[in-house]
């Protein structure tokens, strides 16, 4: 992938499908490696405001991502005990070349999520649907694409949200 023009929609789809599979299969240590060291995983509430003026749903630099993965994989907490199962579906992928070997990959994603365990209990065994427009800012290098920023624009980002203690 020497230049922007060579990163096709098929390349972008392959990248997104691989990322989604890591998230759905909880291969989260691998997922961490998809980012550049100064990469950002960002789920805004209001993407038009500076993150110095407003909280976000997620605004993770490398250490916060590592912490989030540690939390999910190595600790036990009520909101993920029992754990969620997720399935990402990806559609309408488009590639928007930028300068300096970067591209923005825009996709529409639908994530279905269900908590496991005793499905007769409140909050467990209920299917939830999360709908988002995603923008992956990728830098193309000889090791393949790396995420400089993953921005997740939830359709209901500024509305009441439920348990989002899994990766989107």
């Amino acid at each position: 992938m020497a230049g922007d023009m060579n990163f096709t929609r098929e390349n972008a789809e392959c990248f997104l499908i691989e990322e989604a599979e890591m998230l759905d299969e909880l291969r989260l240590e691998e997922w961490l490696k998809l980012f550049t060291s100064d990469g950002l995983y960002w789920i805004p509430i209001d993407e038009t405001m500076s993150t110095n003026e407003t909280v976000s749903i997620v605004r993770d630099d490398a250490l916060r991502r590592e912490e989030r993965v540690f939390h999910l994989l190595k600790t036990r907490f009520p909101a993920q005990s029992p754990r969620s199962r997720t399935l990402h579906s990806i559609s309408s992928v488009r590639v928007r070349p930028k300068v300096d070997g970067q591209v923005v990959v825009v996709s529409n994603q639908t994530i279905h999520e269900v908590r496991t365990g005793d499905y007769r209990q409140s909050g467990l065994g209920e299917m939830h649907t999360i709908v988002a427009r995603m923008e992956h800012l990728l830098v193309l290098s000889s090791d393949g694409p790396k995420i400089v920023e993953k921005k997740v624009l939830l359709l209901d980002r500024d509305m009441p949200l439920g348990n989002l203690t899994f990766l989107i």
């Binding site: 789920i43 509430i45 209001d46 405001m49 110095n52 003026e53 407003t54 909280v55 976000s56 749903i57 997620v58 605004r59 250490l63 916060r64 912490e67 540690f70 939390h71 190595k74 600790t75 036990r76 907490f77 009520p78 909101a79 209990q121 409140s122 909050g123 500024d158 509305m159 009441p160 949200l161 439920g162 348990n163 989002l164 203690t165 989107i168």
Partner: protein, 442 residues
């Protein structure tokens, strides 16, 4: 209410002057399951609690200019909190007086008038009805029409340090009197701003849980749950400390340190129903010698060394019935149904504090309180789990008597509990019981 209760729970013999749902006797303090899951109780709460006490509806910084408004709720009643052209803040019931449609469907904005989309009735932003379309057409209104003045204006509106409260009862006690000891708590939290003011700038976190609204009221002043519900967060603190932006929010890097930092200071059960956890800072010099030393020094010069310990110390409050303050946030919990509640967390800025300080507080709260955060989702998970547990009827009562024998009643009716006591929750339920009882007897 009384009849419903007796019919469905014959084993509960209501004490005189009690709703029958709060049991207080020597060494005991218990609350009946039905106080959390009964639709009739919920409906009674909307009238007997939300129509009779001061309810927080917004902050002045949300509506700085004439015409600025935000929508809010008093119980199930939708309201518009709006600044009129003369600067007054009015709280108007968001319901067209003609046929009931809500006249404002946005969260916030600026408007000179509100127009009902159904038949075009127009209200000025102070609520006054200024136009009824086609009033004089054939079949319209005659000269005998008893024309309403406008949107129903909530009779009492008052403010405390920018917090806007409203009350449906024109005979309610003054706001100052209602806040009681909670006034001191709010003053101390806000005095961390050089001008004593807070600003709502950040977007809020909004979540809903399938549980009763009073679980959130009990929880915000519950030191007992932290090391259990948030045990994973303690693991994160042990591993990451302040490196991921804790910003001093949750001191202590182990379960025993976290317990120590919580099980100290005062637990106040306030007669008006509020709960307060407060303690002076153990080492105020750590603030003065730290990264924001100059800012803290100016605050200390202003408030004095003794008060400074409290301003930078712990201060958490539940203000009856649905307002909370903790860290650098105002929180409300809105009842929607007996088993459905909406929580809104407004992270606030301290006006005049260094930008990096306010930003640090934003991002620390993001880490714990977001719907994807490492703390708040566990609390609301517990509230839904509580509600599920209450669906069975084998067990009638919930136990809220931790520390009941060591609470000290003060001359003004407040209770001072030992650290980790459930004194806050008891005073909350005593006030709940008084309000729910009066109505039954009335």
């Amino acid at each position: 209410m009384t009849e419903t209760r007796t019919a469905s729970s014959p084993q509960v013999a209501p004490m005189a002057g009690s709703s029958g749902l709060v049991l207080e006797e020597a060494h005991k303090f218990r609350v009946h399951t039905r106080a959390y899951n009964d639709r009739a109780v919920f409906d009674a709460e909307m009238r007997n609690i939300f129509d009779r006490v001061w309810i927080f509806v917004g902050h002045t910084s949300e509506i700085p200019n004439p015409g600025d408004y935000k929508t809010s709720y008093i119980g199930m009643q939708p309201v518009i909190v709006v600044r009129a052209d003369n600067g007054d803040v009015n709280v108007l019931v968001n319901r067209c007086v003609h046929r009931g449609a809500v006249v404002c469907r946005e969260l916030r904005g600026n408007a000179q008038q509100f127009e009902c989309p159904y038949h075009g009735w127009v209200y000025q932003n102070d609520g006054k009805l200024v136009a009824i379309p086609h009033a004089k057409e054939a079949g319209g209104y005659s000269e005998h029409f008893d024309k309403p003045a406008g949107l129903y204006k909530v009779p009492k509106v008052d403010m405390f340090r920018g917090l806007i409260f409203a009350c449906m009862d024109p005979n309610v006690v003054p706001l100052d009197e209602f806040l009681g000891r909670a006034k001191l708590l709010l003053e101390r939290r806000f005095n961390l701003s050089p001008s004593g003011e807070i600003v709502f700038r950040s977007r809020p976190f909004v979540s809903r849980y399938k549980g009763n609204w009073k679980f959130q009221a009990e929880n915000i002043v519950d030191d007992y749950h932290f090391v259990f519900t948030h045990t994973a967060f303690i693991d994160l603190q042990a591993k990451y400390g302040d490196a991921t932006g804790n910003f001093g929010l949750h001191p202590g890097g182990s379960a025993s340190e976290m317990r120590k930092s919580r099980y100290r200071g005062n637990v106040w059960g306030v007669d008006q129903g509020h709960g307060i956890l407060d303690a002076p800072a153990l080492s105020p010099e750590s603030f003065l010698n730290g990264r924001f030393g100059d800012y803290y020094k100016a605050i200390q010069d202003k408030v004095g060394a003794e008060e400074f310990k409290w301003v930078v110390g712990r201060g958490i409050g539940c203000i009856f019935p649905n307002l909370g303050i903790i860290h650098q946030q105002i929180r409300t919990w809105r009842p929607i149904a007996p088993d459905l509640t909406e929580v809104t967390i407004y992270p606030f800025e301290l006006k005049g504090a260094p930008g990096e300080f306010n930003q640090g507080m934003l991002h620390a709260q993001e880490r714990f309180y977001a719907p994807s955060g490492h703390g708040a989702p566990d609390d609301v998970e517990m509230f839904a789990s509580n509600q599920h547990g209450l669906e069975g009827h084998a067990v009638d009562w919930l136990l809220l008597e931790r520390g009941v024998d060591t609470d000290e009643k003060q001359p003004n009716g407040d209770y001072r509990g030992q650290p980790s006591s459930e004194a806050c929750q008891r005073s909350y339920w005593r006030q709940w019981n008084r309000l729910m009882t009066k109505s039954a007897g009335a």
